[in-house]
Structure formats: structure tokens, C-alpha cells
Symmetry: C2
């Protein structure tokens, strides 16, 4: 089962590596899953990781390569000759091999490919490298079991035994015609329970889900989730079977997409990790902070334009952070619900019904919050009751406007093909800060007259 | 392939339903996937959805039930007798059947179970209902193929043909001993390529991943992702094989977990959708808004305590929304990176190293932003240069403190077993608003002396 990494276990590995105690290391590592070995290598020193990599079998190291952190993998690959890398790739499925090759420097790619032993494998890899990595073509592998519709079950089983040698996991058996066009699929269960003389054309399932090679990865993920598929065949424009995508790659797509939305909501504009360099982290974070800063300049000027109220109603200025915070929070809540609804395809009904609902919801929430504000400003802050009422009325208006902005900006962006998640986080909080403060002082001006 | 829902297609269905044109409806529906039929039913009127449900075969309706929106499913189930519901459940896998039963009102649960035809199935369902839905037990189904280690491949194939009748997808063949204890697994590939007289004990893979029945669902998801598994067996305290969890259920767990983190970052405290009722949406949103309001009260009082500066440096008060916004944004960015790192297990190294990195990063970002602030306040806002320098110095300090709070609160919560995602969003923005304003005015007071 799972190996638990601790500071002690890492130290033990470092010690054994320092002693170059290959025998003991191999003895320990043989019972550890390659995904765990990769995690251990991520924690070791650069030399330690390379030492471990070199003493292990290429069958294991190929799988380890896939699981390593990107920077550790880069280090390891730098220390390998093109021939050695090719040996690793020969052990991998085509889709995984392509992922590794695409990380290599341009000039090494060709060298590595020319060193691949299995020419069929090399051909598939070169073909796959042509597809955009965010499409079905970029996700698919060519390892699959396919049978001709004109075969019998017996021929089929014999052929499958041959094909299965190259395929680590058999998901479905795809049925094709003489032109390699996808006709349907055969379940392993059917194969187990059908007599061997039956013709494939009599038993296969004609209704098969598939995607075109240019389908976007998130669309493939949506389809596989919707129909609960563990693998889906990929066809070209003529309907010819090119490969298959398995659910483990789709899990990564789903996870990446969710991470991206989460990061956008938090104001981080590219995929970063806590362990990335300060420069990478700054590049991902500072654009949003500059946006917020520019919004802040506008807010300064909006506030300053109501300077006239400062003599008689200076308390109003103490409330600006509260108003801005409420506007920002309400806006983010509204936009987050819409962004998730758009992502999960659960936004239905007309735009007018949504408008009515959002106004009702925000009036209701605004009403509750303005009661709390009235009580708080009277008992906690001991503010003049006229000021309290003014702030409370302004708060309701700010909340309604903020929730409308939060709701409609993502819908609008989505309509024009822009990722609606861009609208959450700093974008909404900044624009809502400005509108909130403007509405707040305008209403105060009308009520209090300054 | 996928059926595209449009306003027209829904209208067409409604018209055919109004005419009670069963023949035409069945003709159209027979080529549509059950997941698509469920989506159509979600859009139809209540009576329309019930009509469609009633004309379809129970083999299809059982699968449709699983895919329907919760409120539509509730309506359909209300219109079915306990015997009819039991017929639907007899078509489903045990884990799915349990999901449906758990949504029924308490008094109907027993009635439905007593109407189940297949007693073995009923027994499994009752057993599964005992497990907490957020554990491996709550996710697993009992449909699996298991063989005894003492059998030959031939006996095994015969037995499997029998067992496979009840199992819609064969993932792995689990090998058990005479006491039903999990010993290993057999791949379908091995079975296809091994002679029939071989003993199972000679070919099975002894190293099998499994989870205990009380393992948390997110932990199961982590393990299945890490080891790229499509199914994992579940064992009890004695190691006896109880069931299996498939990747499609884990995809839902991963998606729900990511959605939950995203919603928490946006200040939404339970799983809600845009189409939920106003009361449900309010319940999910208002606690965070009240928190922000209370924070706002504190911010009002903090600002007021620097009222003395209002005579000479009233411009300082116009900058409070900018300072609060920067503090909030920086805090959310820092905490989001840590929360994701904790979720993905990529936070490593000592706390002091992280402290040093965060301070360096925020000093660097703060420096860039204070230059922009200096330029902006001079050229855009025409503010006195002493005020500009004061605000810039305060901004750097606010950014450093905000990023430290954003980094360490999630780490702290995680250490004490609290979901660190709770710390993102309104919690961080509110506390950073307060600290930000306090630090800002304190520094201004030191520099400008009021």
C-alpha cells in the first residue's frame, strides 16, 4: 500500500545514497509503488534523485518520469542521453511519451525520436505530436484493441490476444469496417458470454459515443462525465478510428479546469504552485494587483468628489471600507454562482427571469443586512440615527447593484466566448468598490443634502 | 451522439405530450441516450416529465432517475408507488440504488426495500445504507467479479461468466482466499493470454491497492488519482472484500471538492446552484456577509480612531478603500496558493523557509506597486508628494502583513484539522481590511505626526 513520506525516511534515503548502498536501496524500493518513488525523488537532493533513477529498471523509471514534478523531471532528462530518453519512451503509452517529448528543448526532440526502437510506436508518437494539446488529439493514445466487423468471435479473441500484448489496460473493444471507420463497440462482458462461432456484426453495439480529433479537451471531459465513460474513441473527419482517451487523463483535465477557475477567483492568472519561483509567482499575481490599484485611484477620486460632505458628515467617510467590502463580497458571490452554473451547464431559463430573481434575492439579503447595520450603528458605533438610516438605505442599493453586476458580467463574457471565470475575484471586487462608493455617496447626498 | 437541447426541441416534446402521441415520442426517444433524456425531462413541465417517464421501459427509466435534477427526481418519485420505485431500483447497481433510497422520506424507505424482488440485491442495499456517505463504504457498490485463489483459469472463466451477468462493467477480477479475504487481482489481459489449466495462485498479482471501508471519500479520490486506478476494492477491518469503488463516482467527489473550495473562496458556505430557491441561496450567502459587516463595524471604529488627522490630512481618508482593496486581494492570492498546495500535497519545506519566501515575494510586489502608487498619486491624483510617499510606505507594509496573514492562516487551520479553504475569501478580505487600515493610519501617524 501507500508509502508514507517523512523527514526521517527522506534522511534514510539520503544516507543510503551517500553510502552508494545500491543493494539496500533496491531492496527497499522494490516494494514501493512508482508514484510513491516519484514523490520521494521530488523531496531528495538533485544528485540523490538522479542516483535513484539510474539504479532502477527502465520499466519503472519510465512510469516514474511521468509522475515527477516538472522541475525534477527536467533535471533528470538533462542528465540522460537522447538514446536513454528514447529507451524510457519505448516503455510508455504513446500519449504519455508525447507529453514527455513536448517538454524537451526543440533541438533534442528530433534526436530522441530518431533513437526510438519500435518504429510503429515512433510513427504514432510523431503523428500525435501534431495535435494541439488542448484537443482530443492531444489527449489520445493509440493503444487500443480494435476488431473488424466481419470477423467471428474466435478470430476476434485470437487477434485481441495479439493486440493486448501492447495495451496495458483493455477498456473496450472497438469495431471497425474495412476502411478503419468506427462502427461500434464490443464489451468484454459480451465477449466472455458469447459463443466463439458468432459473427462480430451480430453482437456488437452500434450506438457508440466518440469524439472528433479536434474536440476541445473540456468538451471531451463534459461528454465523458455526462455519459459516465471510462474511455472514448477518437475519430478523424472521415470517421476513421485514430485513438482513445482514458478517464485518468480526463480527471486531470477536470482538476486543472477547476484549479484554474479557483485561481482566477483568487486573482491569480496562470497555473502556479507555492513552490514556484518568486518571479513566476509575481507574474501570475501582479497584473490583478495593478488592476486593483488603478481601480483604487478611481475610488480615491470618486470619494474626493464628495469632499464637500466632510465638514458636516465626516462619519460617512469612515463607512467607505464597509460599503466597499459589502459590494465586493456580494459581487463575488453572485458571479461565482453564475460561473459554476455556466461550467456545469445548469443555467437555464430566460435572462429576465434571472434578473427578477437576482433583484429579489439581493433585496431580501440587503434588507436583513441593513437591519443589522441599523442596530450595529446605533448600539455599537453610537452613530446619529439619520446617518444610520442613510447608510442602511445606501447599503441596500449597493447590494442590489453589486449582485446585478456580479450576475451579468459573467453571462455577458460567456456570450462573447470569453472565459466567465475572468470576471470573478479582483475584477468584480474592484469595479464594485467603485460603483459601491459612488452609489453610497450619491444616495447620502440626496438624503442628507450636502 | 449527443442530443442538442433547444427551445424548439423542448416545445416539440411538450406538443407531443399534450397530444399524448406515445408512438411518436417513443420513436424519437429510442435513439437518445438516457443522460440526454434526463436533461430533456429537467426542462419539461412537471406533468410532461412524468408522462415521458411512464411511457419508457424500466431499464431506461432507472438510469434516467440517477441523472435527473434532484427536484425533478423528487417529483417523479412522489408519483410512483413503493412497488414501482422498487422495480426501478432492481435495475440499478447497489451503490446507485442506495443513493436514490437515501433521498426518500424516512417512512417510504422501509416500504420500498420490502418490495425489492431480488433478495440478494436487497440485502446488499440494506448493508450499504449503514455506511456514512462520505466514506469508502458510502461510495462502494457490491457488483464485482471475484475468484478464489485455488481455482484454475478454466473454473475462473466459467464462474466469471456467471458473475458477469450481474455486473455491467468488469474492471478487475479480485482474488480472494477461502475466508473472502482480498489476496490480489487478476487483469483481464492476463486471463486472455494464459492457458486455461493454470492455477490462479500462479498468475495473480499480489500487490493490490485497496481502501478500508471507513476511508474518507477525498482520501479514496487522492489514492485513485495518484495510482491512476479505474476501480479500487474496499475491504473491512479483517481484510475481507466488501465491494469496489469505480472512477466515475470519484470524478464526482473530485468535482464536488473543487466546487466546494471555489464556493468557499467566493463566500458561499454550502453547495448551491443558480437555480436553487432564494431561501437556500440566502442561507448559503448571508453568514459571510454578516461576517463582513461585523468586520466593517470594526473598520469604521479603527478609521474613526484616527479622526484627529481629518483636519490637516483629509486626503488620507480617500485612500482607505484602495488600501483595504490591496490588503484583501494580496491576502486572497496568498491563501489560495497555500490552500491549493495543501489540497494537492505540494507544500513542502520548513515553515521558516516559507516565511522568508513570502516576505521576499511581498516586498518585491509591494515595491513595484508602491512605485505605481507614487506615479499615480503624483500625476493622476495630484496629491502632495509627502502624502504620496506616506501612502506608498504604508502600502508596502500592508502588503507584507496581508500576505503573511494569507499564508499562515490556512496552514494553521490545516494543522488543527479545519478545512483551510474556509480561510480564503471573505474571512481573509475582512481581517485584512481591518489590519490594513490600522497599519496604514498608524504609519501615516508616525510619518506625518497628527
Amino acid at each position: 500500500m501507500e508509502f508514507k513520506i517523512s523527514r526521517e525516511s527522506i534522511q534514510q534515503f539520503e544516507d543510503l545514497i551517500a553510502e552508494k548502498n545500491e543493494k539496500e536501496l533496491l531492496e527497499i524500493l522494490k516494494d514501493i509503488h512508482f508514484a510513491d518513488i516519484a514523490e520521494i525523488m521530488n523531496e531528495l537532493s538533485e544528485e540523490g534523485a538522479i542516483y535513484i533513477f539510474n539504479i532502477l529498471d527502465s520499466e519503472v523509471t519510465a512510469e516514474i518520469l511521468l509522475e515527477l514534478d516538472e522541475n525534477v523531471r527536467e533535471n533528470i532528462l538533462k542528465n540522460l542521453s537522447s538514446k536513454e530518453i528514447a529507451e524510457e519512451l519505448d516503455e510508455l503509452n504513446t500519449d504519455d511519451a508525447v507529453d514527455i517529448i513536448s517538454e524537451l528543448p526543440q533541438e533534442r526532440k528530433g534526436e530522441v525520436i530518431s533513437e526510438l526502437e519500435d518504429l510503429e510506436h515512433a510513427k504514432d508518437i510523431v503523428d500525435l505530436m501534431r495535435y494541439n494539446e488542448n484537443t482530443a488529439g492531444g489527449l489520445m493514445g493509440t493503444e487500443l484493441v480494435s476488431v473488424n466487423e466481419n470477423w467471428t468471435v474466435l478470430t476476434c479473441v485470437k487477434e485481441m490476444r495479439k493486440q493486448a500484448e501492447h495495451v496495458s489496460r483493455v477498456h473496450s473493444i472497438y469495431v471497425v469496417d474495412d476502411n478503419q471507420r468506427l462502427k461500434g463497440r464490443l464489451s468484454l462482458k459480451d465477449l466472455l458470454t458469447t459463443s466463439t462461432t458468432t459473427h462480430i456484426s451480430d453482437v456488437y453495439i452500434r450506438n457508440v459515443d466518440y469524439v472528433r480529433v479536434d474536440t476541445k479537451d473540456v468538451e471531451v471531459a463534459r461528454i465523458m462525465q455526462k455519459y459516465d465513460l471510462e474511455a472514448i474513441p477518437v475519430v478523424d473527419e472521415m470517421g476513421r478510428l485514430l485513438g482513445r482517451i482514458t478517464i485518468d487523463d480526463i480527471v486531470d483535465v477536470i482538476k486543472d479546469e477547476a484549479d484554474k477557475d479557483y485561481q482566477l477567483a483568487a486573482g491569480i492568472s496562470q497555473d502556479v504552485e507555492a513552490n514556484d519561483s518568486i518571479l513566476t509567482l509575481t507574474r501570475a499575481r501582479i497584473p490583478w494587483l495593478i488592476l486593483a490599484m488603478i481601480g483604487g485611484f478611481v475610488a480615491v477620486n470618486v470619494t474626493r468628489s464628495f469632499e464637500g460632505a466632510m465638514e458636516k458628515f465626516r462619519i460617512l467617510f469612515f463607512f467607505t471600507p464597509l460599503i466597499a467590502a459589502m459590494a465586493g463580497n456580494v459581487g463575488v458571490q453572485s458571479s461565482a454562482i453564475i460561473v459554476q452554473g455556466l461550467a456545469n451547464n445548469t443555467i437555464s431559463g430566460s435572462i429576465w427571469k434571472r434578473l427578477l430573481k437576482e433583484v429579489t434575492l439581493s433585496l431580501f439579503n440587503g434588507f436583513i443586512l441593513s437591519i443589522i447595520l441599523l442596530l450595529g450603528s446605533h448600539f455599537l458605533l453610537q452613530v446619529d440615527y439619520m446617518i444610520g438610516i442613510t447608510v442602511a438605505i445606501a447599503l441596500v442599493s449597493v447590494i442590489v447593484i453589486a449582485s446585478l453586476i456580479g450576475t451579468f458580467i459573467p453571462i455577458f463574457l460567456n456570450k462573447y466566448g470569453i472565459d466567465p471565470a475572468l470576471a470573478t475575484g479582483p475584477f468584480i471586487t474592484t469595479s464594485n468598490d467603485i460603483f459601491g462608493i459612488l452609489i453610497y455617496f450619491s444616495i447620502a447626498k440626496i438624503i442628507l443634502g450636502f
